[in-house]
Symmetry: C2
Subunit: 387 residues, 2 copies
């Protein structure tokens, strides 16, 4: 094994988060969303651990993700958010994948498969605000009027919709979506329903229905937008502020365990022999005597370039600041105040990780994005290690 | 094969870009930088095409990238920017990889290998402005004073340094770096030297030296920062502006051929039955009757979430605007003005590509980043296709 950055994924933390979400959910079943390779953390490993903990239903985005998961887990339910495309019908049946039917065309596409295979069930997506995929309520109403048997003919076993603003508990759109979803449900009251993502589970019980499908919070992302002094926290605050909050008032608002820790090895250290600018674009000037550690990770590994100027790492207990811009394969940190004995070549610097106080939501805020993007973009040069 | 997004990589365009760069470079040899999996486009495929075109020297970032490339190309020179770490020495020798020695520690680490293996050569990195890796000029001077045989003992065959601001031809740091590099070179004048990246090749001849090592421009990124009315273009302009410039005055300033085209299949289309907000956060309101096409790509595929609100695609000749936020696995475009016959399920929408006028630098500008990050982050669900 060569020295390389590592992403240590705590499967027990994911299981604990799933149990936390399940305990809060008042409906029948808590599923798990493992699309995009379980948000970059490894769909097979994560799903295998969750199945052992009692999770039976998994959601992926694409048919290829579904087939990969089916090979690892022969006995679970696997739903595919993108639904069924022309030419994919038989592969869905052969791998016992459940398409989330998102349009009239997808419903029609599934009818012959449902007629032919008794195990070929589907889910139906009702759009209540996203305008992305799914039937609008009006469209669903009109469909049932002209084709009353369509739900049996496509063997719909679940009706689902998708929140647009669930992390903001007081957003007016939540109640509007609930109303629209209930209108749709009233047209097919015997079919189980699913509305809640992670955020939805932290809304009141009327939102819960039968099946929850958390994703982000399994991986440590807060289910609700963090609030500071009762205002939703801006995504443009620098990470340093986020980190100090995380150790103070902010962290308790996220009930999830941190799941992923990213370590990057030190490639070299040096002490500046003169005051000088550092990095691409010469954006920052550092004084003579500054000691810099360069580590093996960069934006090609998913350390977002927007973190330039806004990020910190840890060496042991010592917080260190990123200096200069994020580059493709390397990051530089000011380690002037860290004991030299901790800064040798090959020593690991923490870029992300709970034990050291860098939560994924804080990294996201520093890069003006969301934790989902931080996790899903961690690249293949970062070796996954599972605990 | 299932319907999936594709990244079509033109190997002839990469070869043509390399030839353009080589023709402009006045030194002996033009190498190629293929680190980070050739900026996400496929290191083995790209390097194999370049070798056939006459390229003999390749640069990667890590030893693992070097080993992967060595397996494909037994006869080329492969240099590893990260240098040699403790425990990697014998793997470097076994795979005939050339470490870029970045510190006194790395020099010491290489001495026993150079002593033992006659083919074990190295490169030496002199830092002239980045403060990231490499010996400072003062450090190099002191080293030669106390260990005059060190370059022979480590068999240094190339001295290199790295520009901080080469895309800005008039940046004062360029001349300062040149001066420092010449100071270092004067201490070892018989050893070939390398300073130029893509941008450097477009600086004057005094910067060129013996070996150039272009990276970004092989993949279609402009070697020099684009200028509009003689001012460097801001990275915060929206893509729509960038695209119209690309068809007007800006594009001619980039002599490189576009290399990569990203197509995403339409999963479903729909017409809004009411005026409504769209997407996460309900950030945008669209009128009744708007037709939306949802395609299979998202930030998990490297379509940067910072493009939300700033991006366009193409369906054939029709430019379409991204609506709502970029989501993990899907993007929505307003296709109200596109003929329905072009918007069927499975039809491909262009997210990136020269033929349709979306250059990688324009996408980068819209996301307030650089083309390097756009390319290196395109994910594994996007199937690479080579022409």
């Amino acid at each position: 094994m060569f020295l390389a950055p590592t992403l240590t994924v705590s499967l027990p933390a994911i299981v604990a988060n799933w149990q936390t979400l399940r305990a809060r959910f008042v409906g029948e079943e808590c599923a798990a969303v493992v699309k995009a390779n379980a948000y970059g953390l490894g769909a097979v490993e994560v799903s295998t651990a969750l199945e052992k903990a009692g999770c039976h239903t998994f959601f992926v985005a694409t048919i290829e993700e579904g087939i990969e998961l089916r090979e690892a887990l022969p006995d679970v339910r696997i739903l595919v958010f993108h639904g069924v495309q022309a030419g994919e019908e038989f592969a869905f049946a052969a791998h016992r994948l459940i398409p989330v039917l998102n349009s009239l065309a997808q419903l029609e596409r599934w009818k012959p498969i449902a007629a032919e295979h008794v195990h070929a069930v589907s889910a139906l997506h009702i759009d209540t605000a996203m305008a992305r995929m799914g039937l609008e309520v009006e469209e669903f109403t009109a469909l049932l009027a002209r084709d009353p048997a369509v739900l049996e003919a496509t063997r719909v076993g679940l009706i689902l919709s998708h929140f647009a603003c669930a992390p903001e508990a007081d957003h007016a759109l939540n109640t509007e979506q609930l109303k629209r979803f209930n209108t749709a449900r009233a047209l097919a009251p015997s079919i189980p329903a699913s509305l809640c993502n992670s955020g939805g589970i932290y809304l009141s019980r009327e939102y819960h229905f039968d099946l929850a499908r958390p994703g982000c919070s399994l991986y440590g992302i807060a289910p609700q937008a963090p609030t500071v002094n009762n205002t939703v926290r801006s995504a443009s605050e620098p990470l340093a502020a986020g980190v100090s909050e995380a150790k103070g008032t902010m962290s308790p608002s996220n009930p999830m365990q941190q799941v992923a820790t990213w370590h990057a090895p030190i490639l070299a250290t040096r002490t500046l022999e003169r005051e000088q600018t550092v990095g691409y674009g010469a954006t920052q000037t550092l004084p003579k005597g500054t000691r810099i550690a360069t580590v093996a990770s960069g934006y090609a590994d998913g350390y977002l370039r927007h973190l330039s100027g806004h990020a910190v790492g840890y060496i042991g207990e010592h917080q260190v600041k990123l200096v200069g811009r994020v580059t493709m394969d390397m990051l530089c940190f000011d380690v002037s105040h860290v004991p030299e004995s901790l800064c040798h070549d090959g020593a690991m610097l923490t870029l992300l990780g709970d034990a050291d106080g860098i939560r994924v939501d804080d990294v996201a805020a520093a890069a003006q994005t969301i934790g989902y993007e931080v996790l899903t973009r961690i690249g293949r040069r970062v070796k996954r290690v599972y605990t």
